[in-house]
Symmetry: C2
Subunit: 248 residues, 2 copies
DNA sequence: CGCGGACTTGACGTCCCTCAACGCCAGTGG
DNA sequence: CCACTGGCGTTGAGGGACGTCAAGTCCGCG
């Protein structure tokens, strides 16, 4: 691995200086590999550690008092895990591996020094937070105001788009590593209803399924039923980082 | 106003140095006052400005393709508005005044220089983002997995708690400056059903209503029906900011 | 006095949940 | 080799929570 995952992620937004790359690289400490299903961090754990995803996909969720689960976020290469651990003494979410994964731990104090040594990177972290906040906002609107079918379609699209960035696979076919129950817990539905919605999307010719494999047959229609709004990320024209201070 | 709103907000987390207070104060530029209902920023606006709320309460929302509205966030004194404007060239949300308000605009480039001059403040901004992310997460779980009654109760509690911090009023009675339609748009319900839930909470003796005035009659029961989980904020024991770099 | 906006309440419809049964498949142990 | 098990997916029937539609009240305001 020539550059660190964080450098790779932030490098999608701007060109990093060599010393910035080095600083990000030295943030990532001990690597740890996880098998599918392993819990990296449990809700209410004391003094949670921070991590970066190096390989594989993970998810985070909360459990409500009645035992139901809400999946909050899916995590891919370069994502920071448990940044809330910077602030709270106790983890707000459980984080678990969906596939074979590798994560690197990040030292809290190192984030502080990073802000001193590389102010531009601190500013970039703020920017990344904003991007994620907007994504959370979109999911909030989906849960509050869209139909079951739209939510399922939106989830499929989101996962596909993120996998595409990570894998670099351009195809419309991908391996959705989620059970229908997990899809339900992410979209606020029951597994049974998720099944019906998938079947409906399939019967309408928007998607095709084969085992764990998922194919977008009519992507335009799928985007429409998901009420998808493209938010150009990365180097796209929609992003403006001209306010960043100079690199160090 | 002796200190700036931002300094006040961040000062709830740690003691700021004089030069930090001064730096935050100089971030806040032209003040602007807004009457109830005035739109400060509209979704899809180009090159949105950044603001801080100085006085009053505001909200932000998005409109979905079918015309329905999802209220994303309520904003109070010291909250940063449209931080997403740091990244995106076009505003992701509409921001509107719920009461008479005053806001101060913030220069994008000044945020960049702040990171250079006062790394600890940049790190604090990251911390504040995390606190808000966790709050958004809680709302997400509420929308996905709780009943209408729980959602309405949770909203009442959230608003009361935030007003309490701002007003310093310790009472259990407060002015909820929202129509039932707005409550519905925040909780993913219709105005009609919000009305029924409020009536039910009232009939069960959890709340009392008088005009726009709202009183918590049985707060413990209200917290329970909202599935409320206290996340100690501010200087509470639940927060750990020992990793911050030294002040400047 | 008329008007519009917010609140209230009832009747009815629908979307999604609940419960239940069944099939498929991968283990796993005999 | 087969029986047994548990997890996941699939489908149907029925019910409940919430939405829709409609009517009426109250209140502030021109």
């Amino acid at each position: 691995m020539t550059t660190s995952c964080l450098a790779e992620r932030l490098g999608e937004l701007i060109d990093l200086s060599d010393s910035e790359k080095a600083a990000l690289g030295s943030l990532e400490l001990r690597e740890r590999t996880l098998r599918r299903g392993v819990v990296l961090l449990r809700e209410h754990d004391k003094a949670p550690e921070l991590f970066v995803v190096r390989r594989g996909t993970m998810m985070s969720y909360v459990i409500l008092p009645d035992g139901s689960r809400q999946i909050v976020r899916f995590l891919f290469r370069g994502d920071l895990i448990a940044m809330a651990g910077l602030v709270y003494r106790t983890a707000p979410e459980t984080v678990i591996a969906l596939t074979e994964c590798a994560v690197a731990s990040v030292d809290r104090a190192a984030v502080g020094s990073l802000a001193v040594e590389h102010p531009r990177l601190a500013a970039l972290l703020i920017a990344v937070d904003q991007i994620e906040r907007v994504a959370l906002t979109d999911r909030l609107a989906g849960l509050g105001r869209t139909s079951a079918k739209a939510r399922v379609a939106a989830l499929l699209i989101e996962i596909r788009n993120r996998l595409r960035v990570v894998d670099g696979t351009g195809g419309d076919s991908f391996h959705l590593g989620l059970t229908q129950e997990e899809i339900g817990d992410a979209t606020g539905l029951t597994a049974v209803h998720v099944n019906r919605m998938l079947r409906q999307l399939q019967d309408e010719g928007l998607i095709a399924r084969d085992g764990g494999r998922m194919t977008f047959v009519n992507e335009a229609a799928l985007l429409r039923t998901a009420h998808h709004t493209a938010r150009d990320s990365a180097r796209a024209a929609g992003v403006d980082l001209s306010w960043l201070p100079p690199a160090r």
